[in-house]
């Protein structure tokens, strides 16, 4: 399939870029460990005062931290670097070339930069999930694990779609350089279970800027807390957001080309 060949070529290109900046790897790993230390310390401080947070125990929050880090790693590998590339392309006009290439433009702007030095973060994230689950004492079934994985994929699809929406909006408001700042800021809210937030904020981070969909929700499925219809609902939300965002992208591209007034 040609899409895979293009992704392969982009990965190869980005491996070359990554190798050109070797010291970047060390800096990334050190920074990442520093943040991990800070995150675990703050969890320790919280649980020195209480035994649970919004119905979640310490081990489960470690697992949630892992899921949240998994999402952040994906964002750092794909989304943030491509945002930078997109904004730069819009400013200097090199985005023009993207639209003249015989491949889907949304796909091209989504995969042209891949920040490979963030890949080790995956290991830390997975370790946190496994350690957290092992200590939480909850027995999860194969079905729960499958729903967890499916909801992770669809949760990330929701966040990715939200990103597409935000960069598409840039076509209408060209000065919207900080197009993804809101997304980045609210992503931080996903570190804690949605249940700890007041009702209005919980609504905001579940449905408006659905960070919880990619963090709390998959973990709830893994704990077996979600009914089947809730799982189906969240999966449908993922599919719908991909469809809607790609339509908005197309409208944005038409706007960029001066097709609409």
């Amino acid at each position: 399939m040609n899409i895979l060949r293009i992704v392969g070529a982009f990965i190869k290109l980005n491996v070359q870029i990554a190798l050109a900046y070797r010291s970047e790897a060390l800096v990334q790993i050190l920074l990442n460990l520093m943040w991990l230390g800070w995150e675990l310390t703050s969890l320790a401080i919280i649980f020195s005062n209480t035994t649970e947070l919004g119905g979640w125990g310490p081990a489960e929050l470690i697992a949630l931290l892992g899921v949240w880090r998994l999402v952040n790693t994906l964002m750092s590998i794909i989304v943030w670097p491509n945002t930078e590339k997109f904004n730069q392309g819009l400013r200097d006009g090199s985005l023009d070339y993207t639209f003249l290439q015989p491949a889907n433009s949304q796909f091209l702007v989504s995969v042209s930069r891949i920040e490979l030095w963030r890949l080790p973060d995956f290991i830390i994230a997975l370790a946190l999930i496994l350690v957290g689950l092992a200590h939480s004492g909850r027995i999860t079934s194969a079905l729960n694990i499958i729903s967890f994985l499916a909801l992770m994929v669809s949760g990330f699809a929701v966040l990715y779609s939200l990103w597409i929406v935000m960069i598409s909006i840039t076509f209408w408001f060209t000065k919207f350089d900080n197009n993804v700042t809101i997304l980045a800021a609210l992503l931080d809210a996903g570190r804690f279970p949605a249940q700890v937030y007041p009702f209005w904020l919980r609504l905001l981070i579940t449905f408006v800027i659905p960070i919880a969909v990619a963090t709390t929700v998959p973990l709830q499925a893994l704990r077996g807390d979600l009914a089947w219809w809730e799982i189906v609902g969240f999966l449908a939300l993922g599919a719908a957001s991909v469809l809607i965002s790609s339509r908005l992208w197309k409208a944005g591209v038409r706007r960029y080309s001066g097709a609409s007034a």
Binding site: A9, K12, L13, Q16, A20, D96, Y97, L100, P102
Partner: protein, 348 residues
């Protein structure tokens, strides 16, 4: 293959009239193409800025108006006009980046702005001021990315690369990170990246901008040879007269979005700017009477020389007189700048 019938020149205040019948074989057919932009319009100053915040007024800018022309297979056409004339807008419509406000265009049988993959695979747009290569890695790595995107087979890629390498001497430069290349070297790589898929139609927007003279010459020689070998159709914009003279037998001039001239380049300079600029530096004679030799242009050029405008056919005789009669330290004879020629074309 050259277009057999050179379109008749219809020059004047009216726009070009298409003659010679429709060439069904013409790869580029443009009819009454227009593009109007809506831009916010306000006067300068703080008050006007505040007023415009609450009540925005718009102005229509007619970037391209009713432009029609046809270009035959293998032709290299110079597309000229001052800044803001509508050249880039037209090239963007023809390459498919912009939708026109009205009018039609067919390039290789496609409507460009539908951006069908078949179309995108058979044309290329090169913009001298834009960068398509990845900055941090050698150009060769970006070439491979294009190979995947354009679905170029290994055999075709190897052959095309060999040919481009032979013409552009890519060998040593395609292995250095793009950020370490000189502007001229980078342009060679940009051109190579744009031509790997063997496009039949090339839109080149100022491909030699900012390059030094020798790099310009090399790019020019490459384009000429590429056109000879592949029979590709080329539309080129440039601010350098030398580019146009070296490459284009035919030029199209637009000004304020309207087509003003479509015809042979030789006719253009003969008809519109039949003069030369003689730049002289006279030793120890700051106010020698140069008026006797031709029209003295106001001011001096960047080397502090006086400039005399003289009819082209008399330039050799005038130069001889100058050298005989004045203490000349330095003298050059130049073509009038392309901007001046074009500017003249519109003022006529």
């Amino acid at each position: 293959m050259q277009l057999e019938t050179i379109p008749r020149v219809v020059y004047g205040s009216t726009s070009f009239v298409s003659v010679g019948g429709t060439h069904s074989s013409s790869p580029i057919i443009v009819e009454a193409l227009s593009k109007t932009y809506k831009v916010t319009d306000r006067e300068g100053g703080f008050g006007a800025a505040v007023k415009s915040f609450f009540k925005r007024t718009f102005k229509e800018v007619h970037a391209v108006q009713q432009v029609s022309f046809q270009i035959g297979q293998g032709e290299v056409v110079g597309f000229l006009g001052p800044n803001g004339a509508g050249k880039t807008t037209t090239l963007k419509m023809l390459s498919g980046l912009l939708y026109p406000t009205s009018g039609s265009a067919r390039v290789l049988g496609y409507t460009p702005w539908e951006r069908q993959p078949g179309y995108l695979r058979s044309m290329t747009l090169v913009m001298g001021q834009r960068n398509r290569l990845a900055w941090d890695v050698p150009a060769a790595d970006s070439f491979l990315l294009n190979k995947a995107i354009y679905r170029i087979s290994d055999a075709d890629y190897a052959q095309t690369y060999r040919e481009l390498d032979e013409l552009l001497e890519l060998g040593p430069i395609s292995r250095k990170p793009v950020r370490n290349l000189s502007l001229g070297e980078r342009m060679k790589c940009e051109l190579a990246a744009s031509l790997l898929h063997r496009p039949k139609v090339l839109f080149l927007d100022e491909p030699t901008i900012g390059l030094d003279v020798s790099a310009q010459t090399r790019i020019r020689a490459f384009l000429k040879e590429y056109n000879r070998r592949t029979g590709a159709t080329i539309i080129l914009t440039s601010h350098y007269m030398a580019d146009v003279v070296a490459l284009c037998e035919r030029v199209i001039i637009i000004h304020h979005g309207r087509l003003k001239y479509d015809g042979a380049l030789s006719d253009l300079s003969r008809r519109i700017a039949p003069y030369k600029i003689i730049a002289v530096h006279l030793g120890g004679c700051d106010d020698c009477a140069l008026d006797a030799y031709g029209t003295v242009l106001p001011g001096e050029d960047e080397s502090g020389r006086k400039r005399i405008q003289a009819p082209a056919d008399q330039a050799p005789a005038i130069t001889a007189r100058l050298l005989a009669e004045q203490p000349v330290q330095d003298l050059t004879i130049e073509d009038p700048p392309i901007e001046d020629v074009i500017e003249r074309a519109f003022n006529e």
